[in-house]
Amino acid sequence: GFYSNSSAIPPELRRNATENVWNSFLNFTGCHAGMKVNGLYKIKQYFQRFGYIPETLPRNFTDDFDDILKNAVMMYQRNFRLNITGELDELTLKHVVIPRCGVPDVVNGTSTMHGDGRRRTYEVSFAGRGPNFHAVKR
């Protein structure tokens, strides 16, 4: 629905809106490598959805906190500038459940989110002697 302001939203819809489809992930707080937890496959599907687990892997994941999930968590934490623990800590999961854009953060295994928030390359060329130093910032 479209509303001119937030107070125009019917109360029953406000309640529904807080029932984020990903909120159940908060139950995985504290999970780390080596654990096996019922439903953990769902968060693997989440990470695959946004590119952190390769699409080439089948979606029938296990509930094991394996290296695939650990690597995905670490890449996610790096992208979002969180502490890189490789664990599903509280701050990471609070981030995971935030509504977001559906465009993946990682494409073909390469993160499109650069850690320093900048994409700069410097081309430098030297031509002969004298003041011919040339630099281009892109």
């Binding site: 629905g1 479209f2 509303y3 001119s4 302001n5 937030s6 107070s7 939203i9 819809l13 406000r14 309640r15 529904n16 809106a17 807080t18 029932e19 984020n20 489809v21 990903w22 946004f50 992208n79 979002f80 500038r81 509280e90 701050l91 609070k94 981030h95 935030i98 509504p99 977001r100 854009c101 559906g102 465009v103 953060d105 494409v107 073909n108 390469t110 499109t112 989110m113 650069h114 850690g115 320093d116 928030g117 900048r118 994409r119 892109r138």
Partner: protein
């Protein structure tokens, strides 16, 4: 800022882009105006222009609200979760989740709405237009191209990170004076307190 692999962008001969809305959505003029404002933000800083047209099938950019599986292999998931997605140039497809509570008011500026159960439409539209133009996600939290959008928060102003990214692809608008404030202070963002009204990280 970042780009999609291969840095796709709209070609030189097509910098005056048209956009249209899916007529099946029967959007009001108020809703369409939100998108006009969002496009204008990117036009202000680039040589690109955006013109609304009626022909949904032939426009460069097509905007539509859909629920669940809508045929592009990227189904929406109901309230919250994923809010929208858009494709890299020159695809032009811009899809939003019809199941969200969208706020279409232009009031509030960069700040917080009064409830957390709604999403500011212009904030999401500005972000997705960035994808349509070729920008990927940014790790700069206050940039428009940051992947998450805090419910209840309005964030529609381009930051210097967004402007630098899009101007790398298209150059600057000759009429743009180049002044763009850096992202506002992010002092609160690392508190981890999601219990307040705006669920800020």
């Amino acid at each position: 800022y970042s780009f999609f692999p291969g840095e796709p962008r709209w070609p030189d001969h097509n910098r005056d882009l048209t956009y249209a809305f899916d007529p099946r959505n029967a959007l009001t003029e108020e809703v369409k105006t939100v998108f006009s404002r969002a496009f204008a933000r990117w036009a202000e800083v680039t040589p690109l222009t955006f013109t609304r047209v009626e022909s949904f099938l032939t426009s460069d950019i097509s905007v539509g609200f859909y629920s669940g599986d809508h045929g592009d292999g990227e189904p929406f998931d109901g309230v919250m979760g994923t809010l929208a997605h858009a494709f890299s140039p020159p695809n032009g497809h811009f899809h939003l989740d019809r199941d969200e509570n969208w706020i279409v008011s232009d009031s509030g500026g960069d700040g917080f709405l009064s409830v957390t159960s709604a999403v500011d439409l212009e904030s999401v539209a500005v972000h997705e237009i960035g994808h349509l133009l070729g920008l990927g996600h940014s790790s700069v939290q206050d940039s428009i191209m940051y992947p998450t959008i805090t419910t209840g928060r309005r964030k529609a102003d381009l930051t210097s990170d967004d402007v630098e990214g899009v101007q790398y692809l298209y150059g600057a608008n000759p009429n743009f004076n180049g002044s763009r404030s850096p992202p506002p202070s992010t002092q609160q963002r690392d508190t981890g307190d999601s219990g307040n009204a705006a669920c800020r990280i």
